[in-house]
Symmetry: C2
């Protein structure tokens, strides 16, 4: 009977996602908002037809991975390396500004320093899934803005990891410099490994597999690299989607046109789960508590303005349009913010109100970005 429930969940999510995707496309609202709306309607905030389970969480995670993998497939490794420095500057400014603004604001609302630090840390990491989907839906993957955003999202995730390690250390009484340093070295080694030997290894592996006459070797190799790198990045504490993006980048080095087609169906099947689950997690009751609403709104404005200005400034040398698009594209916060909130709650350093504020910010930044990005990209040609 347990399986019957899972099949019902999968059926309901898939069908409602495709239905609302279609309806929203017809009324010219970004279709991913349709998928999120589907989740809102069938989930805890709506008809209660469905609730989160480990199986659905796994499908959602695989969906996000598949999304970033396919975006990676359409991106060239050498283009990413070319914009590496710019992306890093964008990420650093985009992390520093919201962190500082958030910290002082929460401190100002009469909370303890450690709580302020945690709530500010939740502002750090951009969740690139939303923006990646806009880039893919509007076929903007080849623009300079897209490359900066994707590169910055990677750097951003690394910075987020380090800040979280520092803040968690601070909670235990002292920042563990050794742990942070070793984390940093681990991440740098991982990146160096992927960039320096990854592309070549993939080509060698591919030739080997062809010689072995392994059927469907491109697909098997892709899936292995995708699952392997996603696991590794998750294992060292980064988001699995960063690993999935790297996997896409590496497989793109093979320059095999069919590769992208092979993932068409899996993409169509899995990606909606990510967006529907975003909607399912939204609990409108959060808005009902008036006491926290004002703080939540200001905190969200800081999240938006901090990222927009920080990241925008980082991309200054590319001119106004890129600055604008990059700044907007980096706004959405996602799972990482929620994870920080959850860790803080479990450690007992933030209370349930602070938790609600963080979730509110994640929801709002997630929901507004597709609208704004679609609007901007229709109005001005994105570079």
């Amino acid at each position: 009977m347990e399986h019957t429930g899972i099949l019902f969940d999968l059926f309901l999510i898939f069908v409602s996602a495709k239905l609302f995707n279609y309806i929203f496309q017809k009324i010219h609202i970004p279709p991913m908002i349709g998928e999120i709306t589907a989740g809102l309607i069938i989930g805890a905030g709506g008809l209660h037809l469905i609730k989160e389970t480990p199986v659905l969480d796994a499908f959602s995670e695989l969906g996000a991975m598949m999304l970033l993998f396919v975006v990676g497939l359409h991106t060239r490794l050498k283009d990413m390396l070319k914009i590496g420095t710019d992306a890093t500057i964008v990420a650093v400014l985009g992390v520093a500004l919201p962190l500082m603004l958030g910290y002082f604001f929460i401190l100002f609302t009469d909370h303890k320093g450690i709580e302020a630090l945690f709530v500010a840390t939740a502002l750090v990491a951009t969740s690139v899934g939303i923006t990646a989907r806009v880039l893919k839906d509007m076929k903007l993957e080849q623009t300079v803005s897209a490359k900066i955003i994707l590169g910055a999202a990677v750097a951003d995730d690394i910075l987020g990891l380090l800040v979280l390690a520092a803040v968690t250390g601070e909670t235990n009484g002292s920042i563990d410099g050794y742990k942070i340093l070793s984390l940093f070295i681990l991440v740098v080694l991982f990146l160096a490994g992927v960039f320096l030997v990854g592309g070549r290894s993939i080509k060698i592996l591919k030739t080997r597999l062809e010689k072995m006459k392994l059927e469907k070797n491109e697909f098997i190799l892709s899936m292995t690299v995708l699952l392997g790198l996603s696991f590794l990045t998750s294992y060292i504490g980064m988001a699995s989607i960063v690993g999935a993006f790297f996997a896409g980048l590496l497989m793109a080095e093979l320059e095999d046109q069919h590769l992208s087609d092979m993932f068409d169906s899996i993409y169509e099947f899995l990606v909606p789960f990510f967006f529907v689950m975003i909607g399912m997690k939204i609990d409108p009751k959060l808005l009902m508590e008036p006491g926290i609403l004002l703080i939540a709104v200001i905190y969200t404005v800081i999240a938006i303005v901090g990222k927009y200005i920080g990241c925008g400034l980082g991309a200054a040398r590319f001119g106004w349009r890129v600055m604008n698009f990059v700044g907007l594209g980096m706004i959405p916060r996602g799972e990482v913010g929620m994870i920080v909130a959850l860790i803080g709650l479990n450690l007992g350093v933030i209370d349930s109100k602070a938790y609600a504020i963080i979730i509110f910010m994640v929801v709002v930044t997630t929901l507004i970005t597709p609208f704004v990005l679609s609007f901007v990209s229709r109005r001005w040609q994105v570079k």
Copy 2:
């Protein structure tokens, strides 16, 4: 961290499945046995690298569904209707003979009647996944034998459902004739619905979706029918793979050559989970208890001989070769046998020894069939 574990599981299962599939192909052993071996090695019976989780169970179920869906895609509905009567005779004889033989054997070993009834019921339902994979791997889907086996597996599953309902009723003191009758009517209505209006509805729906200019409408329709029918069959108590097979049959009515290609990658990704999980569930410790080994072996021989002769006789009018192949193809028992065992254990009508005997029979019938079928189909041309 929970996600890290899931990603590790997915990576390990996928890679080991493909590796052992390749190795076994090279040494001329059916590749699916390689995938089962991979599961045996990494699972509880081997290196303990991995254990069953709800997420892996869901992937395994989806894998089995995908397998039967693709087999259904290569089968014509009207061919199935043509062999309907023969398939039903095959199923009835293949259910009756093992049920009787099993019942009297267990009764003879000095067990209570109700326990004998349960252990015999576990012999009823063929698990068509193993045979379907052989048919697909050896490209035998278009043979008469294949059609009889697939049709009989459907009828067999319905009979199994009714027998289980009767036996469970008997446990509660009286057989609930009303419940069994209503179950039967439900199943018949479902089948009639699928066969009579299914094919036409699919064609109409497809035209509608095309007019609506829904992108990738074939894939979305397929996935919807697959998940929907699998859920429905599971909901009324049948195996979800029967619904998946029907979904494939219905989609085949569109005669769209690309449809099968669209499911290529999803098939390659998901199907190995089904076979690796079979291996993971095998616990070699079962063989260690000498007291039950003899009974288990005789019970397994009854399982094999009962199905082989029962189903073989049912296909008598097609001649020796078809009789032989159909009889062998119906041997594997799977999830349904295990579910019967589990229900009996939970109801307290069978003990852990009887449970172990059933699991032993499931494992042996599952493992020998691919060898025997491959051997036979290489030696004599299958009709």
